[in-house]
């Protein structure tokens, strides 16, 4: 049913339909509405689940770890500081192959403190062994959660669904909320692969000495690579079941004949599409490659999509301080050495700490890279605030 609904509430409603058994979350702006709504649903008896009010995000992650290891479908949500606090547990969950779904309401990281959106937080955990999916809008945010549970339980890999904080979480958009029956058909009940159970005692969380650790990492890496098939499969199954495209590996927009390709992910993609449409009317051929699955990284797909694009610009809401654009670096790596020579791959950092990305800035970016490649630029940087002396 189509509802004009705040992003968070949409997610909450959809997550409730996925029948999680244990929900544990610690409130942190801008994820609060998700957990509040779920608490209300549990409290009203509309959702039959254990809602554990933990004392920190670290505890929240630990509780879902324990719950999943005991055979429950477990869910949590966090962002920024909370995600970093549960960093240890995030790695642990992946290593234990527990199919937990986490919503990340992307937000900037302190210091300085900022409650507004960027994607530094989920970037910080890109190496942990989780599948990372990025939502373009509130509809996709809701849909990705349904897919996430299915992907997680089939691949035995945990999934992070990333949606831009405030921009998506607190925005009201029309969202088609599915019927609970439809979700039940799409997402069967959870049959865990391994659990702690006195009837069949197993040890979960053994330590691996140097004889074995390397292999466990290799196995996790290969599992992530292989999960591409499941991600694509589940996305197409979702299409068939719910009648709309959602998720998947990558998406393209007017890329085929484009002279310039813009690569990005998250909600900014919406603005970029608008720009592309405007530029098209002005006779410029610009296209978009939208990354939906950031992990596993769609290297091959990017290469296939962009191999004849000689001018590429990567726009991202995160930066590897002291190095440069993270996504840009990933995209540059997607091309074999030989094919990089004449290709321009520019890197733009934008929107950090919730900075608005207006159309004008995007136009500026396009015009600039049409003239020359840009190694690294912070889009919309206010030079008047910077003193080169005080670094």
């Amino acid at each position: 049913m189509l509802k004009q609904i705040e992003g968070s509430y949409g997610v909450a409603e959809v997550v409730a339909m996925c029948r999680p058994n244990v929900i544990s979350a610690y409130p942190i702006t801008p994820q609060t509405h998700i957990v509040e709504d779920l608490a209300m649903l549990v409290g009203q008896g509309k959702l039959d689940a254990e809602f554990v009010n933990v004392e920190s995000e670290f505890a929240a992650a630990s509780v879902v770890l324990g719950a999943s290891a005991a055979g429950a479908r477990a869910y949590s949500a966090t962002t920024s500081q909370g995600l970093l606090l549960m960093c240890e547990v995030i790695y642990c969950i992946a290593g234990m192959r527990l199919p937990i779904v986490l919503t990340i309401a992307n937000r900037a990281i302190s210091a300085p403190l900022s409650i507004w959106n960027d994607q530094q937080d989920s970037m910080a955990l890109r190496d942990a062994g989780w599948i990372q999916l990025h939502a373009e809008d509130n509809q996709e945010a809701a849909d990705l959660h349904i897919q996430a549970f299915k992907i997680a339980e089939e691949t035995h890999l945990p999934v992070m669904v990333c949606m831009d904080g405030f921009i998506l979480t607190h925005a009201y958009e029309p969202v088609d909320i599915p019927e609970p029956k439809e979700v039940d058909v799409f997402l069967p009940s959870f049959t865990p692969k391994h659990i702690v159970d006195p009837r069949a005692p197993k040890g979960i969380g053994l330590y691996a000495d140097p004889r074995f650790y390397l292999e466990t990492r290799y196995i996790l890496h290969r599992a992530l690579e292989k999960s591409e098939d499941t991600i694509k499969k589940v996305s197409s199954e979702f299409s068939k079941a719910f009648g709309r495209d959602s998720g998947g590996f990558i998406k393209t927009y007017k890329l085929k004949d484009a002279d310039l390709a813009i690569v990005s992910m998250g909600s900014v993609v919406g603005t970029i599409k608008d720009l592309i449409d405007q530029l098209e009317e002005e006779g410029k051929k610009v296209g978009l490659l939208q990354i939906c699955s950031y992990r596993p990284f769609p290297r091959q797909a990017i290469y296939e999509a962009l191999k004849d694009k000689m001018n590429i610009v990567v726009l991202e809401k995160s930066v590897s301080l002291g190095r440069g654009g993270i996504l840009a670096s990933d995209v540059r790596w997607s091309f074999p050495r030989a094919e990089k020579k004449d290709r321009n791959i520019s890197s733009f950092i934008a929107g950090l700490g919730g900075r608005n990305i207006p159309m004008e800035d995007l136009r500026y970016m396009v015009e600039k890279v049409e003239k020359e490649p840009v190694e690294l630029e912070f889009l919309g940087l206010k030079k008047e605030l910077i003193s080169d002396k005080d670094l």
């Binding site: 058994n21 244990v22 544990s24 039959d48 689940a49 254990e50 554990v52 009010n53 933990v54 004392e55 920190s56 670290f58 505890a59 630990s62 509780v63 879902v64 770890l65 324990g66 719950a67 999943s68 290891a69 005991a70 055979g71 429950a72 477990a74 240890e88 547990v89 642990c92 234990m96 702690v196 159970d197 006195p198 069949a200 005692p201 197993k202 040890g203 979960i204 969380g205 053994l206 330590y207 691996a208 000495d209 074995f212």
Partner: protein
């Protein structure tokens, strides 16, 4: 859960934590872990924190647990156990004994947040703390359980603070059952575990587990040292039911703290040339305070 007096007082030896672990010879924690697991029985899930216990008992591919165990991190045993308990409730499974286990750090320092949260939320989980009075697994560094005067690698001149009173802190969370125990009196320890498991809600048992390597004594003295810890008054043994102290184990003949300290290498620096340092008097004061406070 009702439990008969006969069941409560039966000594259990099922080896649900069995041979093959890599603990040092004479390890108090290994002994305690087995006693706890056996007292709890096969219908148990152990959530174990990183530490000596986890490291010596759960290597791949030969862990020494025979009940299911779940190990996550150093500081989250209590939170993980909360999750397991929530899952069992949500899935309508059970009943099952969920025992979260950890050492000094996992309980009172880095893990304090999780255990406090678990207590406050009222999960039906028993938390067992193996107190060996330092961070033994990482090489004998000081913890908040390190007693006054003890030498550790991070307090080479002797620890300057008093032991954190975790049992009382636990009780102040309003949990229904708290107990302290030692590995020398295995009957008492197992009885306390069984009592705890028969009560709904969060429970806390604090077990003194001497560490031959860290405390500096022969493995064979583990049991004797526990007795001296009790008989000097430095380690009071008692139960607390709904916040009230009960079943205090009285000391038959009080022993001066020197007899306890002299057996351990970590207090050797207090007896240079056989002359006790002023810290010894301070330690005796601590013992006397315990004796008075708990009426030992």
């Amino acid at each position: 859960m009702n439990i008969s007096a006969e069941e409560l007082n039966t000594v259990e030896k099922k080896d649900l934590f069995t041979s093959g672990h890599r603990a040092c010879g004479g390890c108090g924690q290994a002994l305690a872990a087995r006693l706890v697991a056996d007292a709890s029985g096969e219908n148990t899930i152990a959530c174990v924190a990183t530490g000596c216990l986890e490291v010596f008992s759960s290597p791949y591919p030969d862990p020494s647990w025979r009940i299911p165990f779940l190990h996550s991190l150093f500081e989250n045993a209590a939170a993980v156990a909360s999750g397991v308990e929530a899952a069992y409730k949500a899935l309508n499974k059970g009943p099952v004994n969920i025992i979260a286990q950890g050492g000094d750090g996992s309980t009172a320092d880095i893990g304090f947040q999780c255990i406090s949260g678990m207590f406050e939320r009222g999960h039906n989980v028993l938390y067992v703390c193996y107190d060996n009075e330092a961070y033994m697994n990482t090489g004998v560094q000081r913890s908040s359980f390190t007693p006054y005067g003890a030498r550790t690698t991070t307090t080479p001149m002797g620890n300057k603070t008093r032991k954190k009173n975790m049992p009382l802190l636990a009780a102040d969370h309003g949990i229904p059952y708290v107990a302290t125990a030692t590995v020398d009196d295995f009957r008492d320890l197992q009885r306390k575990v069984k009592t705890a498991l028969s009560i709904e809600g969060p429970k806390y048992i604090h077990i003194l587990a001497p560490c031959p390597l860290g405390w500096g004594h022969h493995g064979e003295l583990t049991v004797k040292i526990c007795r001296l810890a009790k008989d000097t008054g430095l380690y009071p043994v008692f139960e607390m039911t709904d916040g009230k102290v009960s079943n205090v184990q009285k000391i038959p003949v009080k022993v001066p703290v020197e007899e306890y300290l002299k057996l351990q290498g970590r207090f050797k620096h207090l007896f240079k040339k056989g002359v006790p340092a002023p810290e010894v008097a301070e330690i005796q004061k601590i013992a006397n305070e315990n004796i008075e406070r708990f009426n030992l």
